[in-house]
């Protein structure tokens, strides 16, 4: 039980500061990248009018997420943000599933991954907002309903990053801690596979979807 909350770090001194790299997270993220690239090649290699099973899988997947994006934004915007939404979901879902394989860990278990993805969504949403409304109309929203509400509106916006990233982090981290504790209590007999299926596959998929949908919804709130 001692390994709870411990991580392997690579510490590099750099111009008087120290850079800390979480080695396991980086390695796991690269594994996810490689798997996604393999999936991409497998689905798009040998494209044909009469699709092969892998191509059908890829097309179904992409279509599903384009439709979701179109529902939340509009047709024009969906063309622009659809690829982002697909990529975000694929990365998250594979990251959350990775933990069910022994010796591999979810990259999303480290707060840095969800936090940086949340920050990315936040920046994109506000960029889209400024672009579609113009800076003046965008800035004016912060002074509503009354000008002195500005600091609280800003905190409210920043709190969105916290909530979106901690939701994913808390769920994945919580699942893995529960699996660890139950495995410890039952000496890894019988129960852990069911828990892995529930927290890894089921909760992992739902949370990846929630994260993706919230990113889309944040964009749609900003542009309208």
């Amino acid at each position: 039980m001692g390994e709870l909350g411990q991580i392997h770090q690579l510490v590099i001194p750099f111009l008087g500061h120290t850079i800390r790299l979480n080695l396991e997270v980086i390695l796991m993220t690269w594994i996810v990248f490689v798997l996604l690239i393999i999936f991409g090649i497998a689905t798009s290699r040998r494209k044909a009018l009469l699709p092969r099973p892998m191509q059908v899988l890829g097309e179904l997947f992409v279509k599903q997420f384009y439709d979701l994006t179109e529902d939340a934004l509009d047709k024009e915007m969906a063309k622009k943000y659809g690829p982002l939404v697909c990529a975000l979901f694929m990365f998250l879902v594979l990251s959350n599933w990775l933990g069910i394989i022994p010796h591999l860990e979810e990259p999303t278990k480290d707060l840095n991954t969800p936090l940086s993805l949340g920050l990315m969504g936040f920046v994109i949403a506000h960029y889209a907002g400024i672009k579609s409304k113009g800076f003046k109309a965008y800035a004016k929203e912060y002074f509503e309903p009354m000008f002195f509400m500005m600091p609280l509106n800003v905190i409210g916006e920043l709190a969105k990053i916290v909530s979106i990233s901690f939701r994913l982090f808390g769920n994945i981290m919580g699942g893995s801690i529960i699996i660890l504790v139950v495995s410890y209590l039952t000496y890894s007999v019988i129960l852990p596979p069911f828990l892995n299926a529930f927290f890894g596959l089921f909760v992992g998929t739902i949370q990846a979807f929630v994260f993706t949908m919230l990113t889309v919804v944040y964009i749609s709130v900003q542009i309208k």
Binding site: G5, I155, I177, I178
Partner: protein, 324 residues
């Protein structure tokens, strides 16, 4: 204090374990009772498929029970933990862990009863979509458990992290406050998420073709309703991981304890309110699928406004931690 550390830690662990299971038993039982009550109504409406309804009720109740099972795991760990090398601070951490898990299981337990009950009702009304209803119920009640999972994370961290080098005053207050913050804030969010999930099962039974829109709206609504619990989690993390300078004055300890209380109580209302907003949106998306986008946007804006009180609570508790 004249008690030796080992006795004190045992005292705290037993009290914490009792509180964890005692409070943790409240929520799930109420939620399961609601599911069973609705299942009765469903069977009397459509007795031919009573087998399906009965099965669905049991599945729903099994998921609703998980919050209480988390509490049971924490309580058992608290009772049988090895506490040979103990200091006073460990006692505060264990007591906080018990409080956190016990309080945090209430909301999720009550909340995850709603989708189960509404799914039973929906199956009796619309047996053709039984499998979709069961899937939606499972998704809804799994997301409902998130606040309870947050409480369990904080409780286990309080139990297993090493606070050995921290000064007893005021860290004891920070650890108890960390437990209270997530535990209390999880009550509202768990209940609110359940309300949204219940409305989605009812909506799918009424308009089976709206299932995609309803499930998406439900998930977004529940996710936003969980935000107060996430603020609670954030405050707990700050209280656990920040090193506080030693101070014998009472005010330093009380500031940290009140920070946890402030965020905890401040999160209850917004969680329930956001859940109500999500419930309304989901209910009307099912009846008017064509305007799902509009409804979701209004829900989000309404939730953001009702969430502002949770943000006030978070600001006050951060001021209590960092300024005072």
């Amino acid at each position: 204090m004249d008690i030796d550390p080992s006795t004190f830690v045992h005292l705290a662990a037993y009290t914490g374990g009792g509180i964890a299971m005692g409070l943790g038993a409240i929520g799930a039982a109420i939620g399961e009772g609601y599911t069973a009550a609705e299942a009765n109504a469903a069977v009397s409406r459509n007795p031919e498929i009573s087998g399906d309804i009965f099965k669905n009720m049991l599945v729903g109740q099994a998921v609703a029970e998980s919050a209480s099972i988390f509490a049971l795991v924490v309580a058992i760990l608290l009772l049988f933990l090895d506490m040979s090398a103990a200091v006073y601070l460990k006692g505060a951490a264990l007591f906080g862990a018990g409080l956190c898990m016990g309080l945090g299981a209430i909301g999720s337990g009550v909340g995850s009863g709603f989708p189960g009950g509404q799914a039973c009702c929906g199956i009796s009304r619309q047996p053709a979509v039984a499998s979709q209803l069961t899937t939606n119920m499972l998704i809804g009640s799994a997301v409902c458990q998130t606040p309870a999972i947050f409480s369990m994370v904080v409780a286990l961290m309080l139990m297993f992290m090493d606070f050995g080098k921290m000064p007893l005053y005021p860290t004891w207050a920070a650890l108890v406050g960390a437990g209270l913050s997530t535990g209390l804030a999880a009550i509202g969010s768990g209940y609110g998420g359940g309300a949204a999930a219940g409305a989605s099962c009812e909506g799918i039974a009424r308009q089976p073709r709206s299932v995609g829109n309803v499930t998406t709206t439900m998930l977004v609504g529940q996710a936003v309703a969980q935000t107060p619990a996430i603020f609670g989690l954030l405050v707990s993390f700050i209280l656990m991981f920040k090193a506080f300078p030693e101070s014998q004055t009472l005010s330093a300890s009380m500031a940290l304890l009140s920070a946890g209380l402030c965020m905890g109580f401040g999160g209850i209302g917004p969680g329930i309110g956001n859940g109500m907003a999500a419930e309304g949106a989901v209910r009307w998306v099912a009846r008017n699928t064509a305007h799902a986008g509009e409804l979701m946007r209004i829900m989000l804006v309404g939730q953001a406004v009702s969430q502002s009180t949770a943000i006030y609570a978070m600001v006050v508790s951060l001021v209590l931690i960092f300024v005072l």
